[in-house]
Point group: C2
Chain length 127, copies 2
DNA sequence: TCTAGTACATACAAAAATGTAAGTGTAAAC
DNA sequence: GTTTACACTTACATTTTTGTATGTACTAGA
């Protein structure tokens, strides 16, 4: 009944950060402890539903800790666990790379959109 | 008409590796130049369609180079560009982290599946 | 001749991720 | 007393991603 063993560490890491928000969430929580609404603001355009789901998953995976002040109206903060911090640190170089190459990546991204906009040309080879 | 600017380098990086295969593809190509079928084998269970799509995107993004020997039957090899290599290097620490924590992550992943199978129960502990 | 292998493309189906809109209960600010 | 804010949840719709099956043009090997 052994679950899937990864072929390399990268597969394990990818398993934890799948999706387009988790890495960003970890990144921001790595810098400061944040409340739900504050986290949403720094992320830009996540819906509440998606953010709640992602956070729940990160908490379940042991990367993030949820701190509930049990007040009303609610006050909840999120922070990284030790495990989460350790993981997050391994992404420091990625973040720096992104900072250095931001403009280039933005151009790549923009070019991608342009490709999509023009109709993709398709060639009919045979009948 | 400036396209969206990223708020941080991490967003830019995420934009390039979105999906669950690209990071793995970059990782493997970072170690050796590979043919399509060989890459598929090291990745494990990608379908040809998906791999072809991902590779096309990576090539379009300038991270991977496609080398076509123009023979028949076809012989094509894929390798990282300089840009791709540079990016890939920034993930070295992530990979190492994954290697060190592989077992723990495997357990987390397994627990996730079990949760899904049984009815999910929720309990929270205060601060 | 039949099979297997190469590197894909294409039509289609299914699954997963994401988004939208509304609701919940309370309380402080206006 | 109405609005705003908090941290969500739920139902639902849409988008994106992933997978399946098949076809292509060709050749080397059995």
């Amino acid at each position: 009944m052994e679950p899937s063993r990864y072929r390399c560490g990268m597969e394990a890491a990818v398993d934890l950060i799948a999706g387009k928000w988790k890495l960003l969430i970890l990144y921001h929580l790595g810098r400061e402890r944040l409340r739900f609404a504050a986290l949403r603001r720094v992320l830009g355009d996540v819906s509440e539903k998606v953010l709640a789901e992602q956070l729940k998953a990160l908490v379940a995976d042991g990367l993030v800790r949820r701190i509930d002040f049990r007040t009303v109206p609610p006050h909840v903060e999120y922070e990284l666990t030790e495990f989460g911090h350790d993981f997050c640190k391994s992404f420091a170089a990625v973040c720096e790379w992104g900072d250095r190459n931001m403009d280039r990546v933005a151009r790549i991204s923009a070019a991608r959109v342009r490709e999509d906009t023009r109709g993709g040309r398709k060639r009919e080879a045979g009948a």
